[in-house]
Symmetry: C2
Subunit: 379 residues, 2 copies
């Protein structure tokens, strides 16, 4: 990447997600949005495009996106949903799908999901079921969405039983991660997304984790390290997704910290008390802690994970969650309803150390309950 | 098939739907239901099964199915939806999915759709999106479902914009068509399903159509010809689906009579004024009539199609629909919203004769409107 003063568009990096006939590019870089018009024109010559976004993102970036697309594709009226996890519901799904039908979106047209993971999951799912499948493009605007949710084709909504229990595998046709969009993201949301960046290091890239320990200030401040971290995360996710599109094996590693994390999100009612990445941060520490308890992992590794997440300002302990989160029994109930539960036995992602995560099947629910009870009493 | 007096279970016929890793069997025959228990046990060893059905079918056959499954699989409480097209909606979809989650159905479990096309489309779609995809088994109970909707993996619901506009491709793991279930079907519904049987002859099997002209009385009365007709229809559908699972080409032939038919169903509010197969019957005559108008097809072929459908008691003309169906303009509007419309140009299935249907693209909407106006004025 050049730091020179020449007034050309900054270089973008392209990562391929190799899924045969469903392969697609992830375009990463500051200003990547300006490439979107021509690329959509190529994807859907003569086609129409409908942008789905949320109120916050619309305020900051919708006009810029509409300008970038003007002249390249015909735009249907944009659909704007309320911000937050609560939009991932049947009601909003129906509304978005019906607005697509009102606009007479056809099979050859495109949906553009402009927003964080909520918009990506909702709009992607709506595209998946509209006319049994319309293509969509992810334009992630949160750090979490740029490094995680926009890549891999998992789409869906929540129900009162839990998160992401209803959905489809539907790969995007293109992902464009313009890092300049992150400038308007709140520090809290940026930190939450950073938890997923750390996750890739913890799964199988100890040296990336080490690099993060040294580079996080630069990543949070913006600049080349930020884009490097995002590109490295996309490469990591892309590799795992390409090897296991439907999560029948290794892809489950991406759930590190998520089984505990989802239970905590459920326990806090999917509210602003705990956003997704924060739940994942605590969940990853819990997963390392439980691995230590089972004698699989050195206590020093748990401490190092905790220390790094704490350094950037993420919560790392049940005690960091304000208000009531119920008892160990109710947390286990949330875990049992999670879709990673098969035939009543628990599957967790545990670790033998930093960069050495693995899928542990047949984890004893009773023992996990006891572990959670201990952690709760230390609260 | 043996007519002998030996008290063994009647022979069933098995038709394979060859879709590689998604291949499955269609088991056809009187008493085939009794094979279901062992087969489900094999599909989901130790798994759980949830039956979805409608009130009419539940009254006639639910107990028998539950008895047939007892001892082979664990049954979750059955879900019963109101009968009729209006159950193919977001509200019922959400209810069915949430009942599945209440019952803690997991990825390895099975959904059984016991009913006509409505139950099959709705339960199949619910299975498609539950936890991003759970397997399901079709147990079709209407003639239409046995010869058409249960095979091929198209699932979905309607919206106020039209039929089947929201859905998924999700192949069943097995189809069991027990012809004895048809004994409780009303004559009107049997006739409606018969329209789809005739369709296979009209598409590419003139000799099958000829056989139907001679055998329809026996088919309606029950007996070997009925099972032969159902098996032949399943073979026809299976062959087309295997060659074009996602309807990017030849599968569209199955829409013969359906573009007109759907418009008529929409014009009658998807009510009992016109059931699906009746719309298809009129639609097929309209498609042949329009082919004649374009000079593609002999008038004698149109008459022969009309005569056969009339002989069995199906409606064949707009004049046979009671009450208001709007004008040509509003019928064309319904057609334009249909999902087979691409980039504003109309695609129809037309015919060069009986057994010689083909996909006609770029059909002129104005000319179709005029044709419909003429047919309406003859009403
Ligand atoms: N599909 C997947 O593979 C996958 C993976 C991980 C997470 N997820 C899902 O992602 C969701 C969480 O994503 P998220 O953290 O992005 O949440 P989000 O979409 O709710 O975004 C967080 C908040 O930031 C705002 N925001 C987003 N971008 C902004 C910007 N550039 N400027 C100003 N405000 C902005 C949003 O309006 C929202 O209020 C969860 O629902 C989770 O289940 C999905
Ligand atoms: N998925 C596909 O490929 C496909 C293909 C064709 C049609 N379809 C869909 O199928 C639906 C029409 O199917 P249908 O005609 O079976 O409608 P249906 O499911 O509504 O059944 C018709 C009526 O017969 C009753 N019934 C069904 N089986 C019975 C039995 N054995 N005894 C007594 N009553 C019984 C039902 O309760 C209902 O009242 C439409 O929604 C259509 O869109 C789907
Ligand atoms: Zn996550
Ligand atoms: Zn049909």
């Amino acid at each position: 990447m050049s730091d020179g003063g020449v007034a050309t568009r900054p270089a973008t990096e392209v990562v391929g997600v190799e899924l045969g006939t469903r392969r697609y590019d992830i375009v990463i870089g500051s200003g990547a949005l300006e490439e979107l018009g021509p690329r959509l024109g190529e994807l859907a010559p003569g086609g129409r495009v409908m942008i789905v976004t949320d109120e916050n993102v619309a305020r900051c970036h919708l006009e810029r996106l509409e300008r970038a697309l003007a002249g390249h594709v015909a735009l249907a009226p944009s659909v704007i949903v309320p911000p937050g996890e609560s939009s991932k519901c049947f009601g909003e799904l129906q509304r978005v799908v019906e607005e697509m039908l009102d606009a007479m979106l056809e099979r050859g047209d495109l949906v553009v999901a402009l927003g964080g993971g909520v918009v990506g999951d909702l709009a992607g799912f709506a595209a998946a079921i509209l006319r049994r499948g319309v293509r969509y493009v992810q334009v992630p605007t949160s750090l979490l969405a740029q490094v995680d949710s926009s890549v891999g084709g998992k789409t869906g909504i929540d129900t009162r039983h839990g998160k992401n229990l209803v959905g489809a595998f539907h790969q995007p046709a293109l992902v464009v991660a313009d890092t300049s969009l992150l400038d308007t993201l709140s520090p809290r949301e940026f930190r939450a997304g950073y938890a997923e960046v750390v996750k890739y290091g913890l799964i199988d890239a100890a040296s990336f984790f080490e690099w993060l320990e040294g580079s996080w200030r630069e990543i949070f401040a913006g600049g080349p390290a930020r884009e490097q971290a995002i590109a490295a995360s996309c490469r990591a996710k892309s590799r795992i997704v390409a090897s296991d599109e439907r999560e029948s094996g290794q892809r489950a590693l991406l759930n590190l910290g998520h089984t505990f994390g989802h239970a905590l999100e459920a326990a806090t009612g999917f509210s602003q008390r705990l956003v997704h990445g924060e739940g994942v941060a605590i969940g990853m520490v819990l997963a390392f802690g439980y691995s230590v308890r089972l004698g699989l992992c050195k206590p020093a590794d748990e401490s190092r994970v905790r220390a790094h997440l704490e350094a950037v300002g993420l919560p790392t302990d049940l005690a960091h969650i304000e208000g009531d989160i119920g008892d160990a029994e109710s947390l286990i109930d949330h875990i049992m309803q999670d879709k990673k539960v098969e035939r009543g036995s628990l599957t967790f992602i545990l670790a033998r150390g930093i960069g050495h995560a693995f899928i542990a099947r047949n984890v004893d629910a009773g023992d996990v309950r006891e572990y959670l009870a201990e952690r709760l009493s230390a609260r």
